[in-house]
Symmetry: C2
Subunit: 154 residues, 2 copies
DNA sequence: TAAATATAGTTGACCGGTCAACAAAAAAGT
DNA sequence: ACTTTTTTGTTGACCGGTCAACTATATTTA
């Protein structure tokens, strides 16, 4: 974010304020930037790496394909992410016995350590977001996102 | 979106469902994809080009710096966007008389034509989003986004 | 069972966004 | 007036996401 010192209020933010896509992109960018900052301060995982570890933590040893199905993520991107994570010793990649196309990925001790190091801050961040909204706002927000997601799919 | 045939419900979407950042990224991706599709069907402007034209339409002839301040956008990215838009004849770039660093950008007839061609569909899309939500949902959604944006800035 | 189709994963190419360095001009501070 | 700081815009480098092609294996179906 090298531009935008302070979005001065005035007549100029009238049309943009109404543009949902624009607002959402902005919000998303800010939240991503914050996530990256928090992760950086707590071990230095990338957001992608964090998400992959969340999934492995949740699913237990699993396949990249399964991970990719859960977090919507390009196969190629995931393949590369897994390669670098494996190279950095965060995860273990083994061949699947039952399916000779598939791999089984699991956390190494080092990966687990990194994961647990970042987890409290990430959890707190999540909590801050939750608590920054009222219960009603939270509920409506999720409902609205569901609806918008459906609308965007057409 | 080459992965994800159908996010099967089940135990797997429990933790992600709660991850606001993740949900927001997904929603944003879908809405962007839709915007690009709609623009593609109506003249083929890119989303960036569309936004720049919206701003020029709104502000009248203006400078790239001003545009960049309104839509939060990297100077470099904007510089390149303006170059290609100028090359495609969508906008006119003139030197500013009063400020010899600055340029004045304005829509050409062709740019105006493209803009007006895409506008109804984009407006309709915006309307669909608005009407897909109740007034209360809309209001709460924007309020929630404001709050989250503030939280993400810390 | 043979052929067609679907899935897992890898790779190369491309595009867009982000960042840092830079030059020119303007504005502010002394 | 002179020096410093800020602003405007361009450019090169990099990184991440997306897409398409391809191989290998598994699954379906004829």
């Amino acid at each position: 974010m090298s531009a935008n010192p302070a979005p001065k209020p005035g007549i100029y933010d009238v049309p943009l304020r109404q543009m949902l896509t624009y607002r959402l992109t902005r919000l998303n960018a800010k939240m991503n930037a914050q996530a990256i900052r928090v992760l950086g301060e707590n071990g230095g995982l990338s957001q992608t790496q964090w998400r992959v570890l969340v999934l492995i933590d949740y699913l237990g040893p699993t396949t990249p394909a399964r991970v990719g199905r859960e977090i919507v993520m390009d196969k190629g991107q995931l393949s590369r992410a897994i390669k670098t994570m494996s190279a950095r010793g965060l995860i273990r990649v083994e061949a699947s016995e039952s399916d000779h196309r598939a791999h089984i990925v699991s956390m190494t001790d080092e990966g687990r350590e990194m994961f647990e190091r970042a987890r409290p801050a990430m959890r707190q961040r999540q909590l801050d977001f939750s608590e920054g909204l009222t219960a009603q706002e939270r509920e409506v927000l999720f409902r609205a996102m569901d609806k918008l997601e459906q609308l965007a799919e057409r």
